[in-house]
Each structure stands twice: as structure tokens, then as C-alpha cells.
């Protein structure tokens, strides 16, 4: 889902501003911060420079949301900087526990020799497979590319996070479409 700008800064800020707008209309006022280390950028929740999580009140109690993404700039023939996702990490962590219950991950370039699915879901969830008890942490459950909008929708619809605006569904749908059209070549 490339996003463009005449400079890396412009493209990065455009991406960050958009996601922050969606966040403030859906689940949290906690803001993402973007910085560049050319030719790459990182976007994540930060406060005073430190990584933080957004606190969400769900029907199961407190949950903490982490969103983080790394993108790389590719210069197009017309001189625009276009962002390509190198990796993302979205996590949901219950209450005061440290380990996330669910981790959606993507790595464009996995470690050498790794043959597992690059878009996957993991978490400390026990699965019973015949007589074997297997943790989802030991598997790489294929997830396909997970748009951040779908994680926010999951928080609202399945976890009961009170949406921050009446038009949250339209905001998520519009954002998803915008990434597919305006932000995508």
C-alpha cells in the first residue's frame, strides 16, 4: 500500500497523520509518532520518545494496543518518494500482563533460513492437536496482510471498545479504500 510524497518526510508525515486521524475517530487519542532514518521510517505510539501502548477499555477489561510499522522509500521515475512496508507489529495485551495475547506480524525479509509465513498471527494460546498441546507462539498462523483498520475494527466489534465517533465504521471503511486507491499506485 504505497504512500507518496515529494520528500521522505512528506510521505512519512502523510502516512502518520492519516493513521492518527483514524485512531482519534475510532479507539484512542494516543498518537503515533513518525521518524525517518533515510531511506526508512518507523511509526509507533511514543511519549517523550519512549514506545508506549494505547490503553483500551474493553468488555473483558483493560487491554493495551501496540501499533508499529517500518516502511522504506522507493523513488519513482517522477521523483516521488513511495513508501513500502518492510514490517509491522500489532499487539493486544490484556491488563497488566507483559506478553501480548495476540500478535499480528509481518516481515518482508525474514531471518536467514526462515521458511515460515511472513504474515502471521501468534500468541500464548494453547491449541489441542490430537494428543499434542501446541502453543500458537510456536506456529506462524497465516494471516495475509492485516490492514491496521481491521485491528481497530476487531477492538470495537469483538472487544467492545467504545468507538470515539459515531461514524467510526465509515472512517475505517474509507481509510481502507483510501489505502487501496489514493495511496496505492
Amino acid at each position: 500500500m504505497p504512500i507518496q510524497g515529494w520528500t521522505l518526510r512528506e510521505a512519512a508525515q502523510r502516512f502518520c497523520d492519516h493513521v492518527n486521524y483514524v485512531l482519534t475517530r475510532t479507539v484512542t487519542q494516543t498518537r503515533l509518532v513518525v521518524f525517518e532514518v533515510p531511506p526508512r521510517i518507523q511509526v509507533t505510539f511514543r511519549q517523550a520518545g519512549q514506545p508506549i501502548e494505547a490503553r483500551l477499555q474493553t468488555r473483558f477489561g483493560l487491554m493495551r494496543l501496540y501499533l508499529g510499522q517500518v516502511c522504506e522509500s522507493v523513488t519513482t521515475p517522477d521523483g516521488m518518494h513511495e513508501l513500502r512496508t518492510i514490517g509491522y507489529r500489532y499487539t493486544l495485551t490484556p491488563g497488566d500482563t507483559t506478553e501480548p495475547l495476540l500478535r499480528w506480524e509481518y516481515l518482508k525479509i525474514p531471518p536467514a533460513g526462515a521458511l515460515w509465513c511472513r504474515h502471521h498471527l501468534q500468541g500464548p494460546v494453547e491449541l489441542q492437536i490430537h494428543e499434542h498441546s501446541v502453543s500458537l507462539n510456536d506456529l506462524h498462523l497465516p494471516s495475509g496482510y492485516v490492514p491496521f483498520e481491521e485491528v481497530l475494527r476487531f477492538c470495537i466489534v469483538d472487544h467492545g471498545v467504545p468507538p470515539l465517533s459515531e461514524d467510526w465504521d465509515a472512517v475505517l471503511r474509507d481509510s481502507y479504500e483510501r489505502f487501496k486507491t489514493e495511496f496505492t499506485r
Binding site: 518526510r9 512519512a12 508525515q13 509518532v33 513518525v34 521518524f35 525517518e36 532514518v37 526508512r40 518507523q42 509507533t44 511514543r46 517523550a48 520518545g49 519512549q50 514506545p51 508506549i52 501502548e53 493495551r64 501496540y66 508499529g68 510499522q69 517500518v70 518492510i86 514490517g87 507489529r89 499487539t91 495485551t93 507483559t98 506478553e99 501480548p100 500478535r103 531471518p111 507462539n137
Partner: protein, 67 residues
């Protein structure tokens, strides 16, 4: 995690880090996890850091390092 040095905070707020500042940020997050810079980078690349949000962030920061 200990507060970041002011210059590093300012660089993050301005939206641009030098490679040296990126390494400084990685070292501080590694310290918060009880690891050295070298251990943290190695474990991030091997995907065997602890499972918390600082480690998740650190793993993404390592992806910003030049290959």
C-alpha cells in the same frame, strides 16, 4: 525505561534520526530489557527477544539499521 536524553527526544519529535541516534535509541531500549546493544540486535534479528512492547519496538528499530 529511563527517560531519553533531551537531544534524542527532540530528534524523534522533529522526525529525523541520524544512524548514531538510532543506535543510541536501540541501546536504551536494550538496556530497558536488560540486554546490551549487541545482544539486543542479535536477538532482534533472530526474533528471540522477550514478548513485550519495548521488544516489539526494538525489533522494528533494528529494521531501520543499514544492512
Amino acid at each position: 525505561m529511563t527517560p531519553l536524553p533531551e537531544a534524542l527526544q527532540e530528534a524523534i519529535e522533529k522526525g529525523e534520526l541520524t544512524e548514531a541516534q538510532l543506535r543510541e535509541l536501540i541501546a536504551l531500549e536494550a538496556q530497558a530489557l536488560g540486554l546490551t546493544y549487541e545482544e539486543a540486535v542479535r536477538r532482534a534479528r533472530d526474533r528471540c527477544l522477550p514478548k513485550n512492547h519495548i521488544a516489539a519496538d526494538l525489533e522494528l528499530l533494528v529494521q531501520l539499521l543499514p544492512a
